[in-house]
């Protein structure tokens, strides 16, 4: 078993607003080492680092928009988000919760700061991730997995090092709450200062660590500070992280989907023709209707 080394520690890029409610640093897709093909199945990662939103009577957020061909995963660290979709579904994602929406053949949805939360304002910190679907599942029926924090299984680390929340996949025998279409692991490592955790993933799995809080040392030698993203190489299976101070690390590792990617805006398909079909279907109302 070889060590999985650090390929790159990316600093957060200048933030931009998605709608008026999400102030994000985009990590994926960007550059030549964090592009969609290299990171597949994690084809988009927007990180809203902790940001204070002042009180607002009109909830801030993103209006109606479509998705097709992948899943969106929202991980709430601070703040609350309300969402609605064209199939009549909706809900509130609270601190610690995860919302896993399989857009697949297509949904329209909108996401806003939850109304009451918006009135008081506060610190807001979220990750939005797009998880690619294999060709055979891109046009399957849309579905939701609303995962409350208490439903997420945890692995308690030895020596009071902290705990690993298993959102999807597996960690040392503890199974994840979410079901996935291709093999992948999504973990929140919550480590106490000095705490260590080891990970073991197949060498070819695309793996990144997002440092949500605190800072860590990877494999005893590579430092990754807060709000940075460490890209792990595909050269080995094992790595270790150590919390320099109390830390939260989002660990993503997934089997690459070895299929072509054709992406434009909110659609991620395999061919250009499928993309054009997605635009046509959206324009012609085949995604349904949702009031803005």
């Amino acid at each position: 078993m070889k060590t999985k080394t650090v390929e790159l520690v990316a600093s957060p890029k200048a933030p931009h607003f998605v709608g008026d409610g999400f102030r994000v640093h985009n990590f994926i897709p960007s550059g030549f080492r964090l592009d969609m093909q290299r990171m597949n199945p994690f084809i988009m990662l927007d990180y809203n680092s902790s940001y204070h939103f002042p009180p607002s009577h009109k909830p801030k957020g993103v209006g109606v928009h479509p998705h097709r061909g992948f899943e969106t995963v929202t991980i709430a660290y601070k703040g609350k988000v309300a969402h609605h979709d064209s199939s009549g579904g909706g809900g509130v994602i609270e601190e610690g919760d995860v919302q896993w929406m399989t857009a697949a053949s297509g949904v329209l949805h909108k996401e806003y700061h939850e109304e009451e939360w918006s009135k008081t304002g506060g610190d807001f910190q979220m990750v939005q991730l797009w998880v690619n679907l294999p060709k055979k599942d891109k046009m399957s029926a849309p579905k939701y997995q609303a995962i409350k924090n208490e439903a997420i299984n945890r692995f308690l680390l030895e020596n009071n090092a902290g705990q690993i929340e298993v959102i999807a996949g597996e960690y040392k025998g503890i199974k994840g709450a979410a079901s996935t279409f291709t093999p992948l692991h999504m973990l929140n490592a919550k480590l106490n200062k000095g705490g260590k955790a080891t990970f073991h993933f197949p060498a070819n799995y695309n793996t990144v660590l997002l440092i949500v809080e605190g800072s860590i040392l990877i494999n005893g030698n590579e430092k990754a500070p807060t709000d940075h993203l460490a890209l792990m190489a595909t050269d080995g299976e094992n790595f270790e992280i150590e919390a320099i101070d109390d830390a939260i690390v989002l660990v993503l590792s997934g089997e690459p989907i070895d299929e072509p990617i054709a992406a434009h805006g909110p659609f991620v398909m395999n061919t250009k023709e499928e993309l054009m079909e997605a635009f046509n279907d959206f324009n012609n109302g085949k995604f349904g209707y949702l009031e803005d």
């Binding site: 928009h65 434009h264 805006g265 324009n283 012609n284 109302g285 349904g288 209707y289 009031e291």
Partner: protein
């Protein structure tokens, strides 16, 4: 977002020497504009044709009541200009504004005239572009006079497949000459017809 460039566009549409293409491209200024920035404002003299390499522009007018009317959108690979101002050298009645951070190639009007004299195949090409433009305008007038809101909308999305995702609904309604409420109704009815659970 896709990026195109003028050289690519000319190479694939124009049958002339590489060096002539390069001389056209070299005579163009590439300008980067921020969202909401203007390339032309009312009463100015339009001196250029703008080719959109990246981003999205709109050409519009503002009436006496302050209401905006969108004549055209210009996404990647489109040309936009005020021909009335540029060719007839009159003060413009229009605004050309970036709706996204954009990159445009600015082709000087005098240079186009010069080129048309120098390279016969460029004249043909320019003629074709102009006739395309006339075709488009003619079609648009006819639709505005005769077609139902739904047909206008369907023609619009056929020509601009991704604009719906890039601009507010109010602008699309402005282009179609209908109220935002009517646009909402059209889209709702289409969804009702075409959405299968």
């Amino acid at each position: 977002m896709n990026t195109f460039n003028l050289k690519m566009f000319l190479t694939s549409n124009l049958d002339i020497d590489e060096k002539d293409i390069l001389s056209i491209v070299d005579n163009c200024t590439i300008k980067r504009v921020k969202k909401n920035e203007f390339l032309l404002q009312k009463n100015e003299h339009c001196k250029h044709t703008f080719f959109v390499e990246k981003g999205l522009l709109r050409q519009y007018s503002i009436d006496e009541k302050g209401k905006e009317h969108i004549l055209s959108f210009a996404p990647e690979n489109w040309f936009v200009t005020d021909r009335e101002s540029a060719y007839f050298n009159r003060p413009s009645a229009y605004y050309i504004q970036a709706l996204e951070e954009s990159q445009v190639a600015m082709i000087d009007e005098n240079f186009i005239q010069l080129l048309a004299k120098k390279i016969p195949s460029f004249t043909d090409f320019n003629n074709k572009l102009l006739h395309n433009h006339i075709l488009h305008l003619q079609n648009r007038i006819n639709l505005l006079l005769s077609a139902a809101a739904e047909d206008r909308y369907l023609q619009f999305v056929k020509m601009y497949p991704d604009i719906l995702l890039r601009v507010p609904q109010t602008m699309i309604a402005s282009y179609l000459g209908i109220t935002p409420e009517s646009l909402s109704r059209v889209r709702k009815e289409l969804a009702h017809k075409n959405f299968k659970e």
